[in-house]
């Protein structure tokens, strides 16, 4: 069992849970994820380890509430526990040894970018972060990233920071030159837009993919993604890949597989089958 020690609402639909997982806190590396199994009957959910405190034995999970499973997870109050957390899974991020990196985070993806920026900063790489959200209240992990380097915030409605998409700010940062590598994590359209910017410039771009997973150990093959014309498993071959090679259309399409089921699960929930306090 993994006790929740702290919970914080980061944006209207993003919640941070600090959870006891000493072994994972001790050995996790940037880019790795865990499979969270809240309780018997629950789904197994892959979540990137956003941060960790080895001394306290805790890891940080940042969860966007979308369906029943994620809503039930973020409803866990401090003191409650998650039945199982397996990991750390996946390959650690390919971190450059020196130079200047542009880290782009969109929405909840900003939490995934955070450990990458952490890893880069520890190696002495200069980190420039471009993060964004719909409006001010949707921007997360700004303070954490500011500790690691320069941060530019963008909002779609201009309510905070630069008015526009993260890709607009990224374009300027790339035009200014001196960027050795780009790390981009966010909604699929955002990652695709970033890749479309960096590809003509020949700037290496790493993206983190979040396809549907079940076991997370390579056993089921549900998380297959197209990379450079090959089918790979995000859980064991990724979750990070060379963005210039990723088939984003396939990713987007496969992510829609269970949309009807998600609606059905939520509907069943609202009829009173569960008590997660839907907002």
């Amino acid at each position: 069992m993994h006790k929740v020690v702290a919970r914080a609402q980061l944006s209207p639909n993003v919640t941070r849970l600090d959870v006891i997982a000493p072994r994972i806190a001790q050995i996790r590396q940037p880019g790795q994820f865990v499979i969270v199994h809240r309780a018997e009957g629950a789904e197994r959910i892959p979540l990137t380890i956003a941060d960790a405190n080895p001394a306290a034995g805790t890891i940080v999970l940042v969860i966007q509430s979308v369906g029943k499973s994620t809503r039930e997870l973020v409803a866990l109050e401090p003191g409650r526990a998650i039945a199982g957390i397996a990991g750390p899974l996946g390959h650690p991020t390919e971190l450059i040894a020196s130079g200047r990196a542009l880290c782009i985070g969109g929405g909840v993806g900003t939490a995934v970018v955070h450990p990458i920026a952490q890893g880069l900063q520890r190696r002495g790489v200069a980190v420039v972060s471009v993060i964004g959200g719909r409006s001010k209240e949707w921007v997360i992990f700004e303070a954490e990233l500011r500790r690691l380097g320069e941060v530019q915030v963008c909002t779609d409605d201009g309510s905070y920071g630069r008015h526009g998409f993260v890709t607009d700010a990224a374009k300027d940062a790339l035009a200014a030159g001196g960027i050795d590598i780009v790390y981009a994590v966010g909604p699929v359209p955002m990652m695709r837009a970033v890749v479309n910017l960096t590809k003509p410039l020949g700037v290496r771009t790493i993206v983190s993919l979040n396809p549907v997973m079940v076991d997370g150990t390579g056993m089921c093959g549900g998380c297959r993604v197209g990379v450079g014309g090959q089918t790979l498993f995000a859980c064991v071959d990724g979750p990070e890949f060379d963005g210039h090679l990723v088939d984003f259309d396939l990713l987007m399409d496969r992510l829609s597989t269970y949309r009807d089921f998600e609606q059905q699960a939520l509907a069943a929930c609202q009829e009173g089958a569960c008590k997660i306090g839907l907002k």
């Binding site: 079940v214 399409d253 059905q264 699960a265 929930c269």
Partner: protein, 470 residues
């Protein structure tokens, strides 16, 4: 005790039939197909055993169960002794009694098969195993005094559980590491409820825990801990982490929505209980027309699962003929009874999708059988111009697995063959002293009982190793 019948009397008894759920009822539920033998029938079947002085059945069993002895004890009505005899050789009798291919192992060796039908050894094993689960004094194995040695077992599938049981019996402190959230490996994620109820697996696992075996779930060796870390903390290690990665057909359209590996399809339904959705949270696509590619037990399990999920048509697509199918005879028979269709001598060449990229069909070619290939089975040859489309909305690919590199990639000293399987010596020891391996990670995809045989053999070798005999 009843009077001992003569051989002649024994020979007059016909093989007893397993009571089964009606095929047209069971193909709509997930309850167990085989209902078990009533006591009287079990005793009658036991009486059929000729108690051969030189029994051949034992050598047919990968874990060498003393078959005539447990059957004799059963016939005498001495169930405690029958159970102890069985458990002495096989820590998981309720499982093997259900899923072993007895017809190619113990029963094929049975002398009664020379003229008529062999003794139904599997049915009797199941009977005794299940009986023991209901008895308070049969809830743990006989364990030797503690040796003070610590052993790690990687994987809680049939190989790992068997090794754990054997090592615990020897008095070693055993810790089993399981990657998933529930112990049992393929017994819980792969084999469906209707063939092996999960409560049976739970009961067998509980017996091991009662016997002192510690099981740690959600721990991925190769990620959470490396093999080297286990070597540092334990006196010996047994690796039985299974086969792992599913093989796909490598044809166009294979990533359309609605194409599953059998591993994913079965894991969703079995481990995650997707057949109970939305009561369970994990969904599965319930096709109206499901095509399952492959001819093994996993293919049968998938296709029979599809039927139970409500498919109007569930079809097996296999590139050879029924005769070459690797599935157990009983599974094929049950599948036919349940109304599954079979397309033999057919190989898929493309998955067809609709405009929304959902599966709409499976394009196939027809095959002829040619000369035997390296596996000894006739090689299928494409008939030119024979393309046709099987309309379907879900495709399940059950054509095998390849070695999962998660563990081995983080243990470079472990010698592997060209397929990535771990190389072991005749005792089951790997290239690393004190590290043993068995089951699918050594053999490639095999069976539950072969993995159990490996677990038992390796446990013996590990016990020798730990006591300095090897």
């Amino acid at each position: 005790m009843p009077a001992k019948p003569s051989t002649k009397q024994r020979l007059q008894i016909d093989r007893q039939k397993m009571t089964e759920q009606d095929p047209l009822v069971r193909n709509a539920n997930f309850d167990e197909v085989n209902l078990g033998l009533p006591e009287k029938v079990a005793l009658l079947e036991a009486e059929r055993c000729l108690l051969c002085r030189d029994p051949k059945c034992i050598s047919g069993c990968p874990v060498m169960v003393n078959i005539p002895r447990f059957i004799e004890m059963l016939w005498q009505g001495n169930l405690p002794e029958a159970a102890q005899c069985l458990l002495h050789d096989n820590a998981l009798p309720s499982i093997t009694g259900r899923v072993c291919p007895q017809e190619t192992q113990c029963e094929i060796e049975c002398i009664r098969g020379n003229k008529g039908l062999p003794v139904a050894i599997g049915y009797l094993e199941r009977y005794v195993g299940d009986w023991a689960h209901g008895q308070k004094d049969q809830q743990s194995l006989k364990v030797a005094p503690s040796t003070g040695k610590k052993v790690a077992v990687v994987g809680s599938g049939p190989g790992g559980l068997t090794a754990a049981g054997e090592l615990a019996k020897c008095g070693h402190a055993v810790t089993v590491f399981e990657a998933l959230h529930k112990p049992g490996g393929v017994l819980v994620y792969g084999i469906p409820e209707f063939r092996l109820p999960k409560k049976i697996v739970e009961a067998e696992v509980a017996r091991l825990e009662q016997s002192g075996v510690k099981i740690v779930c959600n721990t991925v060796i190769g990620r959470t801990y490396t093999v080297q870390e286990l070597r540092d903390q334990f006196d010996a290690v047994f690796i039985a982490n299974g086969a792992g990665l599913p093989v796909f057909m490598n044809v166009a359209g294979e990533n359309f929505k609605g194409v599953y590996s059998a591993n994913e399809y079965l894991t969703r339904v079995n481990l995650m209980a997707a057949y109970q959705f939305p009561r369970a949270d994990t969904p599965v696509l319930k096709g109206q027309r499901v095509a399952t590619v492959g001819g093994g037990n996993v293919a049968m399990d998938s296709a029979r699962t599809a039927k139970r999920l409500g498919a109007e048509s569930s079809m097996i697509v296999y590139r050879r003929t029924r005769k070459e199918m690797p599935a157990r005879a009983e599974e094929i028979h049950h599948a036919e009874e349940e109304g599954l269709q079979f397309e033999f001598l057919v190989a898929p060449i493309e998955v067809i999708g609709n405009d929304k990229k959902w599966v709409a069909g499976l394009k196939c070619v027809r095959m002829n059988l040619g000369e035997p290939d390296s596996s000894g089975r006739a090689r299928p040859i494409v008939i030119p111009g024979s393309e046709f489309v099987i309309p379907c909305d879900v495709v399940v690919v059950a054509i095998g697995t390849r070695a999962n590199p998660l563990l081995t990639a983080t243990c470079p000293d472990l010698k592997l063959n060209k397929w990535g399987n771990i190389i072991v010596d005749e005792k089951g020891m790997t290239s690393l002293p004190g590290v043993f391996a068995g089951g699918d990670i050594v053999r490639g995809a095999a069976t539950v009982i072969l993995a159990m045989g490996d677990g038992k053999r390796a446990a013996k070798a590990m016990d020798d190793y730990l006591s300095g005999k090897a």
